[in-house]
């Protein structure tokens, strides 16, 4: 999985490419660690993401909880497979998906 981070003042944009699964979720966790200080807007672009597993959901939940305390988070460009995962798991109600 490729992770591209762009910081613009208080807005952090993260683009993901590939698969967010057991093998790659720790990479996203590391990319987020310490990067959310002072961030009031977090955007996770899933345009290049093929799919995610529960290991990825765990990281998204952690990020959402952090951002609930300090600003907002949204997830963009979600493909049909990933949207179904969000719906089945109730994440569609937890995340802001655009």
């Amino acid at each position: 999985m490729n992770i591209i981070k762009i910081m613009d003042e208080n807005k952090l944009s993260i683009s993901l490419e590939g698969r967010l699964d057991t093998t790659t979720a720790p990479d996203l966790e590391k990319a987020l660690e310490g990067s959310l200080d002072g961030v009031s807007e977090l955007v996770i672009d899933m345009g290049g993401l093929d799919y995610l597993s529960s290991a990825g959901l765990r990281i998204l939940l952690g990020a959402q909880k952090s951002m609930n305390k300090q600003g907002s988070m949204k997830v963009t460009n979600v493909n049909e497979t990933i949207m179904e995962i969000f719906e089945v798991t109730g994440f569609a109600d937890i995340l802001t998906i655009e």
């Binding site: 699964d21 529960s54 609930n68 995962i85």
Partner: protein, 138 residues
Amino acid sequence: MEELTVDATVENIMQVTAFVDEQLEALDCPLKAQTQIDIAIDELFGNIAHYAYHPEVGAATVRVEVIEEPLSVVVTFIDDGIPYDPLARREPDVGLSAEEREIGGLGIFMVKKTMDEISYEYRDGKNILRIRKRLERL
């Protein structure tokens, strides 16, 4: 029937996925079904890698079979680790807020929702977990 036996480690999930995908591509499996099976491998083989032999490392076998009527692919995960029935786990409450949510059990829940059948048995000292996904003819 094709079979692959490797050490049950997180590092080997990619190899197992590639092995199963190869069989699925030969079957002209629709991409969506393949993606759902790949996710199931991540959840199920990942579970074995994390828990079956912890803290040791042991082997796991992944078997791919095709059955007709209805055309389905069956993937079986076999390990000789500690007996563990993932289906016995209480289902997560998917209606809770972010603050109340727990991730435990979510992976197996997703697999149950996306596969047509899932079964577990413990036989001859082995955990045998089987998933079946129906393939629509294109």
